[in-house]
């Protein structure tokens, strides 16, 4: 989500809440003689509030499963997830008094930091990447369609290259071209252009995300003018293929962080519940 001026109310509300919580914690710490305890009433309240906000933040995932339910606009839920989710960190720190002992508490703190950190990282990605993708990939398509479109582009490029090499594509296009030129074109196509269109697994590292401007420039110099429109088509195919690969890569960044954030969040909530039961019982 783009963090823009529309987030201002949330920002100020969170900042105010943070200031209030910090003030209360300073007071509580002073009153407890510098020995705050998670088991004390204020400590428990911090813990409960922090855990409640964790649960609220986790509910966003469920909310998205039922998009048509009229239980608040999704963007309000998302803003709450971002800003209130962020408040869990100070609340839990106030709950434990910035001290955590034992493996479970340590693990929980690691998970909390990792969850909040991955969330901030994800928020940053979602803030910058959409605009970047919009500029870098004008020919963007639906992500799931990318493999299909790439296959089509590949077939289309082979057909065009075959036409240039054989000069049989159009009835009207009977161009005089020396056999040597044709074989040179085939060699360049096979070596420099076709690998660009290969599936990711077969692609060599040096071909990745590379533009072929110089290759097509040299081809234009080498081949007769009549072929240039077909070369332009071929070049635009390569450009589209390049953009689709950029889209795929950027898309993975845009959504890949969730593979870390979501399991961490779930683990945090489960272990948080275990911690609460253990702490209250024992």
């Amino acid at each position: 989500m783009r963090i823009d001026s529309t987030h201002r109310p949330w920002f100020w509300a969170t900042l105010t809440a943070l200031a209030g919580l910090t003030g209360s914690y300073i007071l509580y710490r002073a009153m407890s003689g510098g020995q705050p305890n998670g088991g004390s009433v204020p400590g428990l309240l911090y813990g409960i509030a922090g855990y409640a906000l964790m649960l609220y933040a986790a509910l966003l995932g469920l909310r998205r499963k039922v998009p048509v339910w009229r239980v608040g606009r999704a963007q309000t839920w998302m803003r709450g997830h971002l800003w209130l989710g962020f408040l869990t960190l100070p609340l839990i720190l106030f709950h434990c008094g910035f001290l955590w002992k034992g493996p479970l508490a340590s693990l929980l703190m690691i998970l909390l930091f990792a969850t909040v950190g991955s969330g901030i990282f994800g928020a940053a990605l979602q803030h910058f990447i959409p605009a970047l993708m919009t500029r870098a990939v004008p020919l963007e398509t639906i992500y799931e369609e990318i493999p299909h479109i790439r296959r089509q582009l590949c077939d289309e490029a082979d057909k065009l290259a075959g036409s240039i090499a054989a000069m049989e594509a159009e009835d009207a296009l009977q161009i005089e071209m020396e056999p040597d030129l044709r074989s040179r074109f085939i060699a360049i196509y096979s070596k420099s252009i076709r690998p660009m269109l290969a599936p990711d697994k077969e692609m060599k590292r040096e071909n990745k995300l590379e533009t072929l401007e110089y290759v097509f420039d040299s081809l234009r110099k080498m081949l007769p003018d009549e072929v240039h429109p077909m070369l332009a088509d071929l070049e635009s195919i390569c450009e589209e293929e390049r953009q689709l690969r950029v889209q795929k890569r950027v898309y993975l960044w845009l959504h890949g962080w969730l593979l870390v954030h979501v399991p961490l969040s779930l683990a945090l909530i489960v272990l948080g519940a275990v911690h609460a039961v253990m702490a209250l019982r024992y």
Partner: protein, 711 residues
């Protein structure tokens, strides 16, 4: 009794005695001497305009045999060098302007002028050809007019006026621009021509030719011309003409239960019930628009509760009926009606090639005439049939038609009785102007068949304001507000209108204040809408904006690509809200940093509505375009949408067998058109509501981009 006075003369040396008053042409014919002629035929008054029948009577000049009365002692020579030379020159001059071979010569090799030219051995024309063509007229369904092939012999004019007494054809223009004209020089299809075919049968060249039947073979028994001529509706037609069209009309016998046509199928014929009855219905047992009320199970009920708001579409729909291509409408709750002897159905399919609007099944053993467009056109121009169909409509369908329009549902039976005799039923051909902007208003129109286009004239060209179909009305703005038409209305296809004159209209408003209020509200709303596109055009003069048709949109879904994380929450929400079928595809053209996805734009100029055979795609009173549940899945709206925003989706359904009283329903897959309905039951569409990133917006593009430009 006075004995008939005779005259004696010699023709080519042959003594001939004929009654006084007989023309030289007829005298020669009686003597077995053929004089070539083009402008004259036996059943018409001679006029002597072509002069091809010139003969030498010994006078200073040659004379036209067809008009020159025979005289005692007259010596006529029909084949001298002088006569042959004059005839040769005349034919050569006529051929100089004649597109050889003309349509008739190509079709049947019997163009009289070209035959004559061949007989005169005219191969090379010494005179220059006509440089500016006089044009063709293809507006009639049955007769093609090629003014270039016309030799101005006036045989058609005399056939129309003197033989058939239709008084449609005449002459127009002078000198080189002279030609034949229908009424006051209207296209033939738009004129008062009754398609009797007499002009075409009279024409010696390819100027008036039968269009014939193109690539269509009708099942059933071809009707003999004699039988057709015995039917009251064909009695005023030329037998030759009917003979030429005999393959375009068949008699079909249906047994009770036989399906005559099915909804959604494309066809090109209309049916006239000669004997028997037919049940007409549409198979729309399944609602694909309104979904609520059937939720079962806890989760479904919870979902239903959480997603439910008032469905205002439902209440608006209750008072409507389903318009079909027949003399009656179908009630929404039970879409079934009966057609009887003397009814005509399939008119829109036949005339405008729209899909069939309903399934029609023979309710008892029936005999029907199935006909193609050329024969239907002939029939519809027949005054006897026309008056019978109109009378049927007034008796049986006018009340249903008026009541199907929510605004008029409160009309009393008494007032409808009054209207029954007062309304006028009018027909218009494609592209015919029904009324023009600025004209004084004298009547109110209700669309009975077909579609009309409402345009407003501006210095830069015409602006389309709306398309109206069956059940819609126009003319109220002028009658209520100013006395002049505020827009031009043109027929988009074969259109039939119910016209209510200003006096009856005023009486209606006086008697029914609710209708006055409703019409005033509609009138205000239309005027407001009409002002809107002009404002948009003035404020956003961007070529991309216009190229992408964004100016036409009333409500546009935009995805801000700088905020959108491509999570597809909008698409999923749309699918969840519509039984798993999304009406939104997150792909489309870009405008600035916005994506305009594939989703209905609620166009101001909704081309999709034109042609819907059952009127299921319509504009609500709040101006949103919706597809109603009775969509028959013909796909015409999807084809018409210029932005590809309407999709056809298969839906499983159980179809009751109407003929068996709805028992033993069959499981079928039925296609229906789907497009964004703006989730009208909610304040905000689901796609926008479900977007977690504030990227999806439903906006008025003119307003939105004007504001964003100001920012």
């Amino acid at each position: 009794m006075t004995p008939t006075e005779t005259v004696s003369l010699t023709i080519d040396g042959q003594a001939v005695t004929v009654d006084r008053g007989t023309t030289v042409f007829d005298a020669a014919r009686m003597a077995g001497i053929a004089i070539p002629v083009l402008c004259h035929q036996q059943n018409e008054r001679p006029v002597g305009v072509c002069r091809v029948c010139c003969v030498d009577t010994g006078e200073r000049t040659l004379t036209a045999a067809c008009t020159r009365p025979a005289e005692n002692g007259m010596k006529v020579v029909t084949d001298s060098d002088r006569v042959r030379s004059a005839r040769h020159t005349l034919v050569e001059l006529l051929m100089a302007d004649h597109p050889s071979p003309c349509a008739r010569q190509r079709q049947s090799h019997d163009c009289e002028l070209e035959e004559l030219a061949e007989a005169e051995n005219i191969a090379e024309i010494r005179y220059p050809k006509r440089k500016s063509p006089r044009g063709k007229d293809d507006s009639s369904f049955v007769i093609h007019v090629d003014h270039d092939a016309c030799i101005l012999c006036d045989r058609c004019v005399r056939g129309c006026n003197e033989i058939r007494h239709n008084e449609v054809l005449g002459r127009m223009g002078k000198g080189y621009t002279a030609g034949i004209a229908f009424d006051l020089n209207l296209p033939m299809g738009n004129s008062s021509c009754v398609s009797c075919g007499e002009c075409m049968v009279s024409c010696p060249t390819g100027a008036l030719t039968n269009k014939g039947i193109v690539h269509t073979v009708l099942p059933g028994d071809a009707v003999d011309t004699e039988l057709l001529l015995r039917l009251p509706y064909f009695q005023e037609i030329s037998g030759t003409f009917l003979n030429l069209n005999r393959n375009a009309v068949v008699v079909r016998n249906f047994k009770a239960g036989d399906v005559i046509c099915r909804e959604g199928e494309y066809g090109s014929t209309a049916f006239y019930i000669m004997k028997g009855k037919a049940a007409v219905h549409i198979n729309t047992p399944m609602a694909h628009v309104s979904k609520k009320g059937g939720a079962t199970g806890f989760f479904s009920k919870l979902t239903s509760y959480l997603t439910a708001d008032s469905d205002s579409a439902e209440t608006e729909r209750e008072s409507r009926s389903i318009p079909i291509d027949g003399p009656t409408d179908l009630p929404i709750d039970k879409p079934l009606a009966m057609l009887e002897t003397g009814d005509l159905f399939g008119e829109m399919t036949c005339m405008s090639l729209y899909p069939r609007s309903a399934t029609i099944v023979a309710a008892e053993d029936s005999v029907m005439i199935e006909m193609l467009r050329n024969v239907l056109d002939i029939m519809l121009r027949n005054k006897t049939l026309r008056s019978r169909l109109d009378s049927n409509y007034r008796k049986r369908a006018l009340e249903d038609h008026l009541r199907s329009v929510p605004l008029f549902s409160s009309l009393s039976g008494e007032f409808i009785e009054r209207l029954r005799d007062h309304v006028e039923l009018l027909r218009f051909s494609r592209d015919e102007v029904i009324c023009r902007q600025g004209e004084p208003v004298d009547r109110f129109y209700l669309v009975r068949i077909g579609f009309v286009k409402i345009t407003e004239s501006h210095p830069g060209g015409d602006l389309v304001l709306a398309y109206l179909g069956k059940g819609d009305y126009f003319g109220e703005i002028g009658l209520l507000q100013g006395g002049v038409r505020t827009a031009t209305v043109t027929a988009l296809d074969h259109v039939e209108l119910v016209s209510i004159n200003a006096d009856d209209f005023d009486a209606m408003l006086e008697l029914f204040p609710d209708i006055r209020r409703g019409l005033a509200a509609v009138s205000d709303s239309r005027l407001r809408q009409n002002r809107h596109p002009r404002a948009g055009a003035a404020s956003v003069p961007l070529s991309d904006f216009l190229d992408q048709g964004l100016m036409e949109a009333n409500s546009l879904l935009l995805l801000d690509l700088e905020k959108c994380t491509r999570c597809d929450a909008c698409v999923r929400a749309c699918a969840d809200a519509h039984d798993g079928v999304t009406r939104l595809i997150r792909e489309g053209l870009r405008y600035q940093n916005y994506l305009v996805p594939t989703s209905c734009r609620q166009c101001r100029d909704p081309l999709c509505m034109v042609g819907c055979p059952v009127g299921s795609i319509r504009r609500r009173e709040t101006l949103e375009v919706v597809i109603e549940d009775w969509c028959i899945g013909c796909g015409l709206c999807a084809e018409n949408c210029p932005y590809g925003n309407i999709s056809m989706h298969p839906f499983p359904s159980l179809q009751p067998d109407i003929m068996e009283g709805g028992s033993s329903p069959k499981a079928v897959v039925q296609y229906k058109a789907t497009s964004c309905d703006l989730c009208m039951e909610h304040a905000e569409p689901n796609c926008v509501y479900a977007c977690p990133h504030d990227a999806a917006h439903r906006v008025d593009p003119n307003e939105f981009f004007r504001l964003s430009a100001l920012r």
